[in-house]
Protein backbone atom coordinates (compact mmCIF):
# COMPACT_ATOMS: atom_id res chain seq x y z
CA UNK A 1 0.00 0.00 0.00
CA UNK A 2 1.19 3.49 -0.79
CA UNK A 3 2.65 5.47 2.06
CA UNK A 4 0.59 8.45 3.05
CA UNK A 5 1.50 11.52 1.05
CA UNK A 6 2.77 14.61 2.79
CA UNK A 7 -0.28 16.80 3.39
CA UNK A 8 -0.06 20.10 1.53
CA UNK A 9 0.05 23.26 3.67
CA UNK A 10 -1.74 26.59 3.43
CA UNK A 11 0.42 29.02 1.43
CA UNK A 12 0.68 32.72 2.17
CA UNK A 13 1.43 34.89 -0.86
CA UNK A 14 1.92 38.62 -1.20
CA UNK A 15 -0.26 40.49 -3.71
CA UNK A 16 -0.62 44.12 -4.66
CA UNK A 17 -2.05 45.72 -1.54
CA UNK A 18 -3.28 42.43 -0.14
CA UNK A 19 -2.15 39.04 1.08
CA UNK A 20 -3.41 35.79 -0.32
CA UNK A 21 -4.01 32.61 1.64
CA UNK A 22 -4.05 29.66 -0.77
CA UNK A 23 -5.75 26.56 0.59
CA UNK A 24 -4.67 23.62 -1.60
CA UNK A 25 -7.33 21.13 -2.71
CA UNK A 26 -5.28 18.22 -1.41
CA UNK A 27 -5.82 19.31 2.18
CA UNK A 28 -8.70 17.36 3.78
CA UNK A 29 -11.64 19.56 4.75
CA UNK A 30 -11.35 18.79 8.44
CA UNK A 31 -7.72 19.95 8.43
CA UNK A 32 -8.33 23.25 6.65
CA UNK A 33 -9.24 25.31 9.71
CA UNK A 34 -6.31 24.08 11.87
CA UNK A 35 -3.90 24.65 8.94
CA UNK A 36 -5.32 28.14 8.37
CA UNK A 37 -5.00 28.96 12.06
CA UNK A 38 -1.39 27.82 11.97
CA UNK A 39 -0.63 30.02 8.94
CA UNK A 40 -2.41 32.98 10.52
CA UNK A 41 -0.50 32.63 13.79
CA UNK A 42 2.81 32.44 11.95
CA UNK A 43 2.16 35.63 9.99
CA UNK A 44 0.02 37.48 12.49
CA UNK A 45 1.76 40.85 12.16
CA UNK A 46 1.53 40.82 8.39
CA UNK A 47 -2.09 39.74 8.35
CA UNK A 48 -3.18 42.30 10.93
CA UNK A 49 -2.05 45.13 8.71
CA UNK A 50 -3.44 43.80 5.45
CA UNK A 51 -6.60 42.57 3.81
CA UNK A 52 -6.74 38.94 2.81
CA UNK A 53 -7.85 37.07 -0.29
CA UNK A 54 -8.92 33.54 0.63
CA UNK A 55 -8.15 31.26 -2.31
CA UNK A 56 -10.05 27.98 -1.89
CA UNK A 57 -9.22 26.60 -5.40
CA UNK A 58 -11.60 23.96 -6.76
CA UNK A 59 -12.63 22.54 -3.37
CA UNK A 60 -16.42 22.00 -3.01
CA UNK A 61 -17.80 24.41 -0.39
CA UNK A 62 -20.66 23.66 1.98
CA UNK A 63 -22.56 26.00 4.33
CA UNK A 64 -21.03 24.18 7.22
CA UNK A 65 -17.47 24.50 5.95
CA UNK A 66 -17.78 28.23 5.15
CA UNK A 67 -19.29 28.74 8.62
CA UNK A 68 -16.36 27.01 10.26
CA UNK A 69 -13.81 29.14 8.38
CA UNK A 70 -15.65 32.29 9.41
CA UNK A 71 -16.01 31.28 13.05
CA UNK A 72 -12.70 29.52 13.70
CA UNK A 73 -10.41 31.66 11.60
CA UNK A 74 -11.76 34.93 10.20
CA UNK A 75 -13.63 36.23 13.26
CA UNK A 76 -11.49 34.38 15.75
CA UNK A 77 -8.30 36.11 14.57
CA UNK A 78 -9.92 39.36 13.46
CA UNK A 79 -8.92 39.01 9.80
CA UNK A 80 -10.28 41.35 7.18
CA UNK A 81 -11.28 39.47 4.02
CA UNK A 82 -11.14 41.29 0.71
CA UNK A 83 -12.58 38.48 -1.36
CA UNK A 84 -13.13 34.72 -1.60
CA UNK A 85 -11.72 32.91 -4.60
CA UNK A 86 -13.27 29.55 -5.46
CA UNK A 87 -13.73 27.46 -8.62
CA UNK A 88 -16.65 25.57 -7.11
CA UNK A 89 -19.83 26.87 -8.73
CA UNK A 90 -22.08 25.82 -5.84
CA UNK A 91 -19.75 27.44 -3.32
CA UNK A 92 -19.66 30.68 -5.29
CA UNK A 93 -23.46 30.78 -5.11
CA UNK A 94 -23.45 30.28 -1.35
CA UNK A 95 -20.91 33.06 -0.81
CA UNK A 96 -22.79 35.46 -3.10
CA UNK A 97 -26.08 34.80 -1.33
CA UNK A 98 -24.37 35.87 1.88
CA UNK A 99 -23.24 39.08 0.16
CA UNK A 100 -19.57 38.18 0.29
CA UNK A 101 -17.11 39.35 -2.37
CA UNK A 102 -16.33 36.47 -4.74
CA UNK A 103 -13.51 36.18 -7.29
CA UNK A 104 -10.27 38.07 -7.79
CA UNK A 105 -10.47 41.43 -6.00
CA UNK A 106 -11.57 43.63 -8.91
CA UNK A 107 -11.98 46.88 -6.99
CA UNK A 108 -8.39 46.67 -5.91
CA UNK A 109 -7.18 46.06 -9.44
CA UNK A 110 -8.58 49.36 -10.70
CA UNK A 111 -7.60 51.33 -7.61
CA UNK A 112 -4.03 50.21 -7.72
CA UNK A 113 -2.24 50.57 -11.03
CA UNK A 114 0.63 48.48 -9.79
CA UNK A 115 -1.70 45.57 -9.62
CA UNK A 116 -2.04 45.20 -13.37
CA UNK A 117 -0.46 41.77 -13.26
CA UNK A 118 -3.47 40.51 -11.32
CA UNK A 119 -5.61 41.18 -14.36
CA UNK A 120 -4.51 38.08 -16.22
CA UNK A 121 -5.37 34.88 -14.48
CA UNK A 122 -3.00 32.12 -15.46
CA UNK A 123 -4.25 28.70 -14.43
CA UNK A 124 -1.86 25.82 -14.74
CA UNK A 125 -4.46 23.10 -14.22
CA UNK A 126 -7.55 21.53 -15.73
CA UNK A 127 -11.10 22.39 -14.71
CA UNK A 128 -13.32 19.43 -13.94
CA UNK A 129 -17.10 19.29 -14.28
CA UNK A 130 -18.75 21.59 -11.71
CA UNK A 131 -15.74 23.87 -11.36
CA UNK A 132 -16.09 27.48 -12.45
CA UNK A 133 -13.66 30.37 -12.87
CA UNK A 134 -14.85 33.96 -12.93
CA UNK A 135 -12.32 36.70 -13.47
CA UNK A 136 -12.49 40.43 -14.29
CA UNK A 137 -9.50 40.16 -16.67
CA UNK A 138 -8.05 37.75 -19.22
CA UNK A 139 -7.98 34.05 -18.36
CA UNK A 140 -5.26 31.75 -19.67
CA UNK A 141 -5.72 28.07 -18.91
CA UNK A 142 -2.95 25.57 -19.49
CA UNK A 143 -5.01 22.39 -19.26
CA UNK A 144 -8.43 21.07 -20.21
CA UNK A 145 -11.79 22.68 -19.59
CA UNK A 146 -13.98 19.60 -19.24
CA UNK A 147 -17.66 19.23 -20.06
CA UNK A 148 -19.62 20.81 -17.19
CA UNK A 149 -16.90 23.33 -16.24
CA UNK A 150 -17.30 27.08 -16.87
CA UNK A 151 -15.00 30.01 -17.49
CA UNK A 152 -16.43 33.54 -17.35
CA UNK A 153 -14.07 36.42 -18.10
CA UNK A 154 -14.43 40.14 -18.70
CA UNK A 155 -11.56 39.86 -21.18
CA UNK A 156 -10.11 37.17 -23.42
CA UNK A 157 -10.07 33.43 -22.73
CA UNK A 158 -7.33 31.14 -23.96
CA UNK A 159 -7.58 27.43 -23.36
CA UNK A 160 -4.28 25.74 -24.08
CA UNK A 161 -5.80 22.29 -24.13
CA UNK A 162 -9.16 20.71 -24.94
CA UNK A 163 -12.19 22.95 -24.47
CA UNK A 164 -15.43 21.05 -23.81
CA UNK A 165 -17.03 23.26 -21.18
CA UNK A 166 -18.73 26.64 -21.42
CA UNK A 167 -16.66 29.79 -21.96
CA UNK A 168 -17.97 33.34 -21.82
CA UNK A 169 -15.46 36.02 -22.82
CA UNK A 170 -16.19 39.76 -22.57
CA UNK A 171 -18.86 38.89 -20.05
CA UNK A 172 -19.22 42.55 -19.03
CA UNK A 173 -19.97 43.58 -22.60
CA UNK A 174 -16.53 43.95 -24.15
CA UNK A 175 -17.14 42.64 -27.69
CA UNK A 176 -13.49 42.95 -28.68
CA UNK A 177 -12.79 39.94 -26.46
CA UNK A 178 -11.74 36.69 -28.04
CA UNK A 179 -11.80 33.03 -27.24
CA UNK A 180 -8.96 30.78 -28.32
CA UNK A 181 -9.02 27.01 -27.88
CA UNK A 182 -6.22 24.64 -28.78
CA UNK A 183 -8.69 21.82 -29.36
CA UNK A 184 -12.29 22.92 -29.62
CA UNK A 185 -14.95 20.39 -28.57
CA UNK A 186 -17.46 22.65 -26.82
CA UNK A 187 -21.15 22.94 -27.59
CA UNK A 188 -21.39 26.67 -26.96
CA UNK A 189 -19.25 29.82 -27.00
CA UNK A 190 -20.29 33.21 -25.64
CA UNK A 191 -18.68 36.58 -26.24
CA UNK A 192 -20.38 39.66 -24.81
CA UNK A 193 -24.11 39.15 -25.40
CA UNK A 194 -23.67 36.91 -28.41
CA UNK A 195 -23.53 33.17 -28.35
CA UNK A 196 -23.24 30.35 -30.82
CA UNK A 197 -23.85 26.62 -30.50
CA UNK A 198 -21.94 23.76 -32.06
CA UNK A 199 -22.02 19.99 -32.26
CA UNK A 200 -19.48 17.35 -33.14
CA UNK A 201 -20.41 17.68 -36.82
CA UNK A 202 -19.30 21.33 -36.92
CA UNK A 203 -16.21 22.08 -39.03
CA UNK A 204 -14.44 23.48 -35.96
CA UNK A 205 -14.73 20.34 -33.83
CA UNK A 206 -11.35 19.10 -32.64
CA UNK A 207 -9.53 21.99 -34.32
CA UNK A 208 -7.57 24.95 -32.96
CA UNK A 209 -10.04 27.80 -33.24
CA UNK A 210 -10.30 31.52 -32.55
CA UNK A 211 -13.69 33.10 -31.87
CA UNK A 212 -14.34 36.82 -32.14
CA UNK A 213 -17.18 39.25 -32.79
CA UNK A 214 -17.53 40.98 -36.15
CA UNK A 215 -20.44 43.38 -36.42
CA UNK A 216 -23.37 41.52 -34.89
CA UNK A 217 -22.01 38.06 -35.49
CA UNK A 218 -19.81 35.69 -33.65
CA UNK A 219 -17.22 34.37 -36.09
CA UNK A 220 -14.90 31.40 -35.87
CA UNK A 221 -11.56 30.99 -37.57
CA UNK A 222 -9.41 27.90 -37.65
CA UNK A 223 -5.89 28.57 -36.42
CA UNK A 224 -2.91 27.10 -38.23
Amino acid sequence: MEKEKEKPAVILKGGAGHLRLVIPEGLPELEVCPALEKAVLEAHHLLEASRVVLDLQGRPLTEDFIGRILKDVIWNYGLSVLSWVSFDSGGQGLLRKAGMAVGEPAALVTENRLARSVQTLLLDRSLRSGQKVEHPGDVFIIGQVNDGAEVVSAGNIVVWGRLQGLVHAGAEGNVSSRVIAKSFEATQVRIGRLFSTFDSASPWYGKSVLFAVEGDALIAKELP
Binding site: K7, E25, G26, E29, R59, R128, Q144, D147, G148, R162
Partner: protein, 266 residues
Protein backbone atom coordinates in the same frame (compact mmCIF):
# COMPACT_ATOMS: atom_id res chain seq x y z
CA UNK B 1 -0.79 -4.81 4.71
CA UNK B 2 -2.29 -1.85 6.57
CA UNK B 3 -6.08 -1.94 6.71
CA UNK B 4 -7.60 -0.17 3.71
CA UNK B 5 -10.93 1.54 3.22
CA UNK B 6 -12.03 2.10 -0.37
CA UNK B 7 -15.15 4.01 -1.40
CA UNK B 8 -16.84 2.88 -4.62
CA UNK B 9 -18.62 5.84 -6.17
CA UNK B 10 -19.71 7.39 -9.48
CA UNK B 11 -21.86 10.51 -9.28
CA UNK B 12 -24.41 9.14 -11.72
CA UNK B 13 -26.79 6.40 -10.65
CA UNK B 14 -27.15 3.04 -12.36
CA UNK B 15 -23.62 2.68 -13.70
CA UNK B 16 -22.77 -0.36 -11.58
CA UNK B 17 -21.39 0.82 -8.22
CA UNK B 18 -23.19 -1.88 -6.23
CA UNK B 19 -22.37 -4.66 -8.70
CA UNK B 20 -18.73 -3.59 -8.66
CA UNK B 21 -18.65 -3.44 -4.85
CA UNK B 22 -20.21 -6.90 -4.52
CA UNK B 23 -17.92 -8.55 -7.07
CA UNK B 24 -14.77 -6.96 -5.72
CA UNK B 25 -15.70 -7.82 -2.13
CA UNK B 26 -16.17 -11.50 -3.03
CA UNK B 27 -12.92 -11.61 -5.02
CA UNK B 28 -10.92 -9.90 -2.24
CA UNK B 29 -12.35 -12.25 0.40
CA UNK B 30 -11.53 -15.26 -1.80
CA UNK B 31 -7.96 -13.98 -2.01
CA UNK B 32 -7.79 -14.43 1.75
CA UNK B 33 -8.38 -10.89 3.00
CA UNK B 34 -10.95 -10.28 5.69
CA UNK B 35 -13.30 -8.06 3.76
CA UNK B 36 -16.22 -5.83 4.77
CA UNK B 37 -18.74 -4.68 2.19
CA UNK B 38 -20.54 -1.64 3.59
CA UNK B 39 -23.76 -0.39 2.03
CA UNK B 40 -23.48 3.40 2.27
CA UNK B 41 -26.78 4.00 0.53
CA UNK B 42 -28.95 4.64 3.60
CA UNK B 43 -32.63 4.43 2.69
CA UNK B 44 -32.15 2.70 -0.66
CA UNK B 45 -30.23 -0.39 0.19
CA UNK B 46 -29.21 -2.76 -2.61
CA UNK B 47 -25.92 -4.36 -1.77
CA UNK B 48 -27.58 -7.04 0.41
CA UNK B 49 -29.67 -8.24 -2.54
CA UNK B 50 -26.79 -8.24 -5.01
CA UNK B 51 -24.73 -10.24 -2.52
CA UNK B 52 -27.70 -12.53 -1.85
CA UNK B 53 -27.68 -11.84 1.90
CA UNK B 54 -30.98 -9.97 2.24
CA UNK B 55 -32.67 -12.68 4.30
CA UNK B 56 -30.03 -12.69 7.00
CA UNK B 57 -30.07 -9.03 8.04
CA UNK B 58 -30.91 -8.29 11.66
CA UNK B 59 -29.16 -5.01 12.44
CA UNK B 60 -27.79 -2.33 10.12
CA UNK B 61 -25.34 0.54 9.79
CA UNK B 62 -27.60 3.08 11.49
CA UNK B 63 -28.06 0.74 14.48
CA UNK B 64 -24.28 0.59 14.81
CA UNK B 65 -23.59 4.33 14.60
CA UNK B 66 -26.46 5.03 17.02
CA UNK B 67 -24.96 2.56 19.45
CA UNK B 68 -27.98 0.22 19.40
CA UNK B 69 -25.69 -2.71 18.66
CA UNK B 70 -22.03 -3.61 18.31
CA UNK B 71 -20.41 -3.64 14.87
CA UNK B 72 -19.71 -7.39 15.04
CA UNK B 73 -23.36 -8.08 15.71
CA UNK B 74 -24.55 -6.15 12.67
CA UNK B 75 -22.04 -7.66 10.24
CA UNK B 76 -23.67 -10.41 8.17
CA UNK B 77 -21.23 -13.22 7.51
CA UNK B 78 -21.35 -14.74 4.05
CA UNK B 79 -21.61 -18.54 4.29
CA UNK B 80 -20.37 -19.15 0.75
CA UNK B 81 -17.08 -17.28 1.07
CA UNK B 82 -14.88 -17.25 4.10
CA UNK B 83 -13.74 -13.77 5.20
CA UNK B 84 -16.65 -11.89 3.61
CA UNK B 85 -18.95 -9.71 5.73
CA UNK B 86 -21.72 -7.27 4.86
CA UNK B 87 -22.75 -4.21 6.84
CA UNK B 88 -26.20 -3.47 5.42
CA UNK B 89 -27.79 -0.03 5.19
CA UNK B 90 -31.05 0.87 6.91
CA UNK B 91 -34.00 0.87 4.53
CA UNK B 92 -36.38 2.78 6.76
CA UNK B 93 -34.15 5.77 7.42
CA UNK B 94 -32.68 8.53 5.22
CA UNK B 95 -29.19 9.83 4.51
CA UNK B 96 -29.62 12.37 7.35
CA UNK B 97 -29.66 9.54 9.90
CA UNK B 98 -25.85 9.43 9.88
CA UNK B 99 -23.40 12.29 10.44
CA UNK B 100 -19.89 12.67 9.05
CA UNK B 101 -18.39 12.25 12.54
CA UNK B 102 -20.31 9.01 13.07
CA UNK B 103 -19.04 7.68 9.74
CA UNK B 104 -15.45 8.54 10.67
CA UNK B 105 -15.85 6.67 13.93
CA UNK B 106 -17.39 3.69 12.18
CA UNK B 107 -14.50 3.59 9.69
CA UNK B 108 -11.99 3.56 12.55
CA UNK B 109 -13.77 0.54 13.96
CA UNK B 110 -13.89 -1.18 10.55
CA UNK B 111 -10.17 -0.56 10.16
CA UNK B 112 -9.52 -2.40 13.42
CA UNK B 113 -11.54 -5.43 12.36
CA UNK B 114 -11.03 -5.86 8.61
CA UNK B 115 -8.16 -5.95 6.12
CA UNK B 116 -10.18 -4.29 3.40
CA UNK B 117 -13.44 -2.37 3.61
CA UNK B 118 -15.38 -1.44 0.48
CA UNK B 119 -18.03 1.26 0.92
CA UNK B 120 -20.77 1.36 -1.71
CA UNK B 121 -21.65 5.03 -2.11
CA UNK B 122 -25.09 6.34 -3.08
CA UNK B 123 -25.44 8.28 -6.35
CA UNK B 124 -25.27 12.04 -6.16
CA UNK B 125 -22.85 14.58 -4.76
CA UNK B 126 -24.64 15.46 -1.54
CA UNK B 127 -24.37 14.37 2.09
CA UNK B 128 -24.89 10.67 1.30
CA UNK B 129 -21.86 10.63 -0.98
CA UNK B 130 -19.81 12.73 1.43
CA UNK B 131 -20.60 10.37 4.30
CA UNK B 132 -19.65 7.33 2.24
CA UNK B 133 -16.37 8.92 1.18
CA UNK B 134 -15.27 10.76 4.30
CA UNK B 135 -13.69 7.84 6.14
CA UNK B 136 -12.16 6.18 3.07
CA UNK B 137 -8.47 6.29 2.18
CA UNK B 138 -8.87 5.48 -1.49
CA UNK B 139 -11.58 5.65 -4.12
CA UNK B 140 -12.76 3.63 -7.07
CA UNK B 141 -14.85 5.64 -9.52
CA UNK B 142 -17.20 3.58 -11.68
CA UNK B 143 -18.39 4.97 -14.98
CA UNK B 144 -19.89 3.70 -18.22
CA UNK B 145 -18.76 4.91 -21.65
CA UNK B 146 -21.56 7.47 -21.91
CA UNK B 147 -21.12 11.23 -22.04
CA UNK B 148 -23.44 11.84 -19.08
CA UNK B 149 -21.75 9.25 -16.85
CA UNK B 150 -18.29 10.51 -17.73
CA UNK B 151 -19.24 14.11 -16.95
CA UNK B 152 -20.63 13.06 -13.55
CA UNK B 153 -17.54 10.97 -12.87
CA UNK B 154 -15.43 14.04 -13.64
CA UNK B 155 -17.39 16.04 -11.06
CA UNK B 156 -17.00 13.31 -8.44
CA UNK B 157 -13.25 13.00 -9.12
CA UNK B 158 -12.88 16.74 -8.48
CA UNK B 159 -14.62 16.28 -5.13
CA UNK B 160 -12.59 13.20 -4.20
CA UNK B 161 -9.38 15.06 -5.04
CA UNK B 162 -10.36 17.85 -2.70
CA UNK B 163 -11.05 15.25 -0.02
CA UNK B 164 -7.47 13.93 -0.47
CA UNK B 165 -8.48 10.42 -1.46
CA UNK B 166 -5.50 8.67 -2.98
CA UNK B 167 -5.27 6.78 -5.20
CA UNK B 168 -8.48 7.54 -7.13
CA UNK B 169 -8.85 4.84 -9.78
CA UNK B 170 -11.33 4.17 -12.54
CA UNK B 171 -13.46 1.15 -13.43
CA UNK B 172 -14.98 1.51 -16.89
CA UNK B 173 -18.10 -0.63 -16.82
CA UNK B 174 -20.33 -2.01 -19.58
CA UNK B 175 -17.99 -1.52 -22.48
CA UNK B 176 -19.13 -3.01 -25.77
CA UNK B 177 -16.06 -3.54 -27.94
CA UNK B 178 -18.14 -4.02 -31.10
CA UNK B 179 -19.87 -0.66 -30.58
CA UNK B 180 -16.55 1.06 -29.92
CA UNK B 181 -15.22 -0.42 -33.14
CA UNK B 182 -18.15 0.87 -35.17
CA UNK B 183 -17.71 4.33 -33.62
CA UNK B 184 -21.00 4.21 -31.70
CA UNK B 185 -19.46 4.14 -28.23
CA UNK B 186 -16.78 6.24 -26.54
CA UNK B 187 -13.43 4.50 -26.43
CA UNK B 188 -11.42 3.73 -23.27
CA UNK B 189 -8.77 6.20 -24.38
CA UNK B 190 -11.29 9.04 -24.77
CA UNK B 191 -12.63 8.45 -21.26
CA UNK B 192 -9.12 8.45 -19.82
CA UNK B 193 -8.23 11.62 -21.74
CA UNK B 194 -11.06 13.44 -20.02
CA UNK B 195 -10.85 11.97 -16.53
CA UNK B 196 -7.05 11.81 -16.31
CA UNK B 197 -6.91 9.18 -13.55
CA UNK B 198 -5.49 5.67 -13.40
CA UNK B 199 -7.56 2.90 -15.00
CA UNK B 200 -7.94 -0.16 -12.78
CA UNK B 201 -10.24 -2.20 -14.98
CA UNK B 202 -12.57 -2.43 -17.96
CA UNK B 203 -15.67 -4.60 -17.54
CA UNK B 204 -17.38 -5.78 -20.73
CA UNK B 205 -21.14 -5.49 -21.05
CA UNK B 206 -22.32 -9.01 -20.36
CA UNK B 207 -25.72 -10.62 -19.76
CA UNK B 208 -24.11 -12.71 -17.02
CA UNK B 209 -23.97 -9.57 -14.85
CA UNK B 210 -27.75 -9.06 -14.95
CA UNK B 211 -28.42 -12.72 -14.20
CA UNK B 212 -25.98 -12.78 -11.28
CA UNK B 213 -27.38 -9.56 -9.82
CA UNK B 214 -30.90 -10.95 -9.83
CA UNK B 215 -29.79 -14.25 -8.36
CA UNK B 216 -27.74 -12.58 -5.64
CA UNK B 217 -24.66 -14.49 -6.71
CA UNK B 218 -21.76 -12.21 -7.62
CA UNK B 219 -19.88 -13.41 -10.69
CA UNK B 220 -16.60 -13.61 -8.84
CA UNK B 221 -18.03 -16.51 -6.77
CA UNK B 222 -17.08 -18.78 -9.68
CA UNK B 223 -18.60 -17.69 -12.97
CA UNK B 224 -16.53 -18.27 -16.09
CA UNK B 225 -17.71 -15.20 -18.01
CA UNK B 226 -15.43 -12.49 -19.29
CA UNK B 227 -17.03 -9.98 -16.90
CA UNK B 228 -16.23 -12.29 -13.97
CA UNK B 229 -12.63 -12.47 -15.08
CA UNK B 230 -12.49 -8.69 -15.48
CA UNK B 231 -13.81 -8.11 -11.93
CA UNK B 232 -11.34 -10.65 -10.50
CA UNK B 233 -8.55 -8.82 -12.28
CA UNK B 234 -9.61 -5.50 -10.73
CA UNK B 235 -9.40 -7.14 -7.30
CA UNK B 236 -5.91 -8.43 -8.08
CA UNK B 237 -4.83 -4.96 -9.16
CA UNK B 238 -6.22 -3.53 -5.90
CA UNK B 239 -3.94 -5.99 -4.12
CA UNK B 240 -0.97 -4.62 -6.04
CA UNK B 241 -0.58 -7.33 -8.68
CA UNK B 242 0.24 -6.27 -12.19
CA UNK B 243 -2.37 -7.84 -14.43
CA UNK B 244 -2.66 -6.89 -18.10
CA UNK B 245 -6.06 -5.66 -19.34
CA UNK B 246 -8.24 -8.37 -20.88
CA UNK B 247 -8.52 -8.52 -24.62
CA UNK B 248 -12.24 -7.89 -24.83
CA UNK B 249 -12.35 -8.69 -28.53
CA UNK B 250 -11.33 -12.26 -27.83
CA UNK B 251 -14.75 -13.92 -27.28
CA UNK B 252 -15.91 -12.86 -30.72
CA UNK B 253 -13.06 -14.81 -32.21
CA UNK B 254 -13.80 -18.04 -30.35
CA UNK B 255 -15.97 -20.97 -31.41
CA UNK B 256 -17.36 -21.77 -34.81
CA UNK B 257 -19.16 -18.45 -35.31
CA UNK B 258 -16.10 -16.64 -34.08
CA UNK B 259 -14.07 -18.52 -36.63
CA UNK B 260 -16.57 -17.61 -39.33
CA UNK B 261 -16.57 -13.98 -38.26
CA UNK B 262 -12.81 -13.95 -38.30
CA UNK B 263 -12.66 -15.64 -41.68
CA UNK B 264 -15.13 -13.16 -43.11
CA UNK B 265 -13.28 -10.31 -41.49
CA UNK B 266 -16.25 -9.16 -39.39
Amino acid sequence: MDPRIIVVTSGKGGVGKTTTTANLAVALAKAGYKTAAVDGDIGLRNLDVVLGLENRIVFNLVDVVEGACKLQKAMVRDKRVENLFLLPAAQTRTKDAVSADQMLKLCDELRENFDITLIDSPAGIEQGFRNAAIGADEAIVVTTPEVSAVRDADRIIGMLESMSKSPIRLVLNRLRPAMVKSGDMIDVKDVLDILAIELIGVIPDDTSVVISTNKGEPLTLGDESLAAKAFSNVARRILGEEVPLLDLDAPDQKGFFGFLRKALGL
